[in-house]
């Protein structure tokens, strides 16, 4: 073939390709990413979008799980406190039974029962981060309010539920009435008021009724604590599963998105050499012609 050495377009397009490769290798090393625009690797781009969305979902679940976990342990503490109070009330009421205790002793016992009632009120009105724990879905105020003999539940029957994993929902607030009253006619607060009155009056039937009411309340709160414990374990399970899922999701994302630095740097130095070689070849191309030899 006849060669003229005049056609610049082929050398320029070679130079262009070398320059593009160099620029791409530089971008990979400086950004640390294999994929900067979708056309670098379209299917990797789709993987990146999906895995990032997956990780964002997991992160949101983890944040929910963390909040749920703190709330559940606060509620657990409150319920344990309530169980202790019931046990104490039971002992106090039992001590007031029969003809042995004097009137003075029974009055002292009645005083103790009122103290227990006040503590119970404090526990059932427990708050976490400014929100009542035992007032259902109510977001402010107290679960129970009122005066001796007239306690009213200010909360709601439904609860705030939080999704800690796909399709795994836990309640982070509780219906206080189901704990203190259940299917009884009155809340245990009112029962304690009646019990203290019965102690003062030495009313054996009233004291027995009070003890029975505390018994039933104990069963309710124990059941509630059991459910809560199961939820707490569920949240812990969810967190450990989410951590594992996030790790594998991040691994998939990294494989699609991140540059293998050793490989990228090798590629960069190869591209750099190729670029320099192309430049050198073009600069040599037209150095001499026949004219240099004709004198």
């Amino acid at each position: 073939m006849r060669v003229t050495f005049n056609d610049q377009s082929s050398s320029i397009s070679t130079l262009q390709i070398a320059a593009q490769n160099l620029a791409r290798a530089q971008r990979e090393v400086t950004t640390g990413r294999r994929v900067s625009v979708a056309s670098d690797d379209p299917s990797a781009a789709r993987t990146i979008v999906q895995e990032r969305a997956e990780m964002a979902t997991i992160d949101a679940y983890r944040r929910s799980a963390d909040t749920a976990s703190s709330r559940l342990s606060a509620a657990d503490t409150a319920l344990s406190g309530i169980i202790d109070l019931y046990t104490e009330a039971m002992a106090t009421a039992t001590a007031g039974r029969g003809s042995v205790p004097t009137q003075e002793a029974r009055e002292a016992l009645a005083q103790q029962i009122r103290g227990i009632r006040d503590s119970l009120l404090t526990q059932i009105n427990a708050q976490f981060a400014g929100r009542p724990l035992f007032a259902g879905s109510a977001t402010s105020g107290s679960a129970y309010a009122g005066a001796p003999g007239a306690w009213t539940y200010a909360g709601t029957a439904d609860t705030v539920q939080v999704e800690v994993q796909q399709d795994r929902v836990v309640s982070v607030t509780f219906d206080g009435r189901s704990i203190l009253q259940g299917s009884d006619a009155d809340s245990v607060l009112t029962s304690l008021d009646a019990l203290s009155d019965a102690l003062v009056a030495g009313d054996a039937a009233g004291i027995s009724a009070g003890i029975d009411a505390i018994d039933r309340a104990m069963a309710r709160v124990t059941r509630a604590q059991g459910r809560l414990g199961a939820d707490e374990r569920g949240v812990d399970d969810a967190v450990s599963q989410l951590t594992a899922l996030r790790l594998s999701s991040d691994t998939r994302r990294s494989q699609a998105e991140d540059a293998n630095l050793a490989e990228a740097i090798t590629k960069l130095s190869t591209a750099d050499t190729a670029y320099r070689a192309t430049l050198a070849a073009i600069s040599q191309q037209e150095r001499e012609t026949l004219l240099d030899y004709l004198r």
């Binding site: 979708a38 056309s39 670098d40 379209p42 789709r46 999906q50 949101a60 929100r131 012609t289 004219l291």
Partner: protein, 451 residues
């Protein structure tokens, strides 16, 4: 040689021929960098003798010929159509791709933030701060959809301007070709070859704008679009025109009153039309579908709950009634923008609505996939289209480079060759001058003899 004076004229013709050879070499060297220039050679012919024993009458210049490969020129025109199309598409695709943003840090990230905000609100439905955050993220999501739609729309308009510019250029080139044709037909003189050079260059330029077929019969050049519409026959021009489409205002390419937009598929014009009428509208439709499905699902979830004022929830987003144009129309309702308490996350069912909105992130809303997966699909489509266009362009470029090398091999000026020609003609000139002086001295001798 019949006489000694004949010898003189023979020497003179040779001197003239060698000088013309030097001129041709000089012209070639002068145009070594001229685009479209084809190298010239000098055709010489011996002058025959008049009778037996006659050495001949010297040399005659028959013509200055351009070394042209018509087949290669046609191949280059053919590839130029494809290359220009691929280049236009690849360039526009890189633009579209850049506008969609980096995978994982674009609309998909905004969708995640939006769902995150509602998940946080579901955890603590009583918090006004989280309500405000949810309203703000909703607004940002709507803005992100609108911006994306607007950017794609801008690129489409940009393509439309490109279409108009390309049609103008085609008409200009066709006009110049017509002028050239007239001159080629009338003047078959010394400027013939250079006119043909210019015409070849213009035809290549024209084929880069739109696919053309070129035919020449008895000196009349006819140029038509590949779809058959005549652009030029000899000096008669049939220019293209532009009509604005009703409603969209987009340019329709017209030829003799016919809309030929759909039949132009190659050249820069074809590439721009493909982007404007096929690719970009496809991407916008996919984006619209995501916006439409997300907005409606969120609206339904919000309407199923109760707001913080105790009223049944309303809608969060204003959105068009059909998917077409949904992304551009998506807006956080003014009511919610003014009062985040209208977001449903309280009262009966507590945070159910907020939780339902948050869990839409994993719901298969858009053509059977989640909203982010649908975005991933769009990104994949754009990325694959862009990579395809780049690959096609690179492939064509290589073919083009080869063709240009071939053309250069046939028609290009080689400095080495011309230097050798200069030498050859110079030496020949010197030798002929010597012959002339020998004949001249013979005459002198004769004149001395008769004195």
């Amino acid at each position: 040689m019949s006489s000694i004076f004949g010898s003189l004229s023979s020497a003179a013709s040779a001197l003239e021929a060698q000088r013309r050879g030097l001129d041709v070499a000089g012209q070639n060297i002068a145009n070594v960098n001229t685009a479209g220039y084809t190298r010239r050679t000098l055709d010489l012919q011996e002058r025959p003798g008049a009778f037996v024993g006659d050495a001949g009458g010297g040399v005659a210049v028959t013509q200055v010929r351009a070394i042209r490969d018509v087949f290669l020129d046609a191949r280059i025109r053919q590839e130029t159509q494809g290359l220009a199309h691929d280049t236009a598409v690849a360039d526009a695709m890189s633009l579209v791709e850049a506008q969609l943003g980096r995978p994982g840090a674009s609309l998909d990230a905004q969708l995640s933030s939006f769902f995150d905000a509602f998940a946080a609100l579901a955890d603590d439905p009583g918090s006004l701060t989280l309500r405000d955050a949810a309203a703000r993220e909703s607004d940002r999501l709507a803005v992100a959809f609108r911006d994306m739609s607007e950017r794609l729309g801008d690129t489409r308009e940009h393509m439309d301007l490109g279409v108009r510019a390309a049609v103008d250029e085609i008409n200009t080139l066709v006009g110049r070709l017509a002028e050239l044709n007239a001159r080629v037909e009338s003047a078959r003189g010394g400027d013939y070859e250079s006119l043909i050079d210019t015409r070849t260059t213009l035809l290549t330029e024209l084929s880069g704008l739109a696919g053309i077929t070129v035919s020449e019969s008895s000196g009349t050049l006819t140029v038509a679009l590949t779809s058959g519409e005549m652009l030029l026959s000899g000096a008669v021009v049939a220019p293209l025109s532009i009509e604005n489409e009703a409603g969209t205002g987009l340019a329709r390419v017209m030829s003799g009153g016919q809309d030929i937009t759909a039949s132009i598929t190659t050249g820069t014009l074809g590439g721009r039309l493909q982007m404007r009428d096929d690719k970009i509208p496809g991407y916008v439709a996919a984006l619209d579908q995501i916006a439409y499905d997300v907005a409606n699902a969120v609206n339904a979830a919000n309407a199923s709950g109760t707001d913080a004022l105790g009223n049944p929830g309303g809608i969060l987003f204003d959105i068009s009634a059909t998917p077409a144009g949904a992304a551009a129309s998506m807006r956080l309702t003014a009511a919610v923008a003014n009062d985040s308490r209208l977001i449903s996350a309280a009262g009966a069912g507590a945070n159910d609505a907020a939780r339902a909105i948050a869990s839409l992130r994993t719901a298969t809303l858009v053509n059977g996939v989640t909203p982010t997966a649908a975005w991933g699909q769009l990104l994949y489509r754009v990325g694959a289209d862009s990579a395809d266009a780049q690959r096609a362009q690179t492939g064509r470029q290589q073919i083009m480079t080869q063709l240009q090398l071939l053309r250069e091999a046939a028609s290009g000026v080689s400095i080495d060759e011309e230097a050798a020609s200069l030498m050859r003609y110079q030496r020949a000139y010197e030798a002929n001058a010597r012959y002339f002086s020998v004949v001249n001295s013979l005459l002198d001798t004769l004149f001395e003899a008769v004195r």
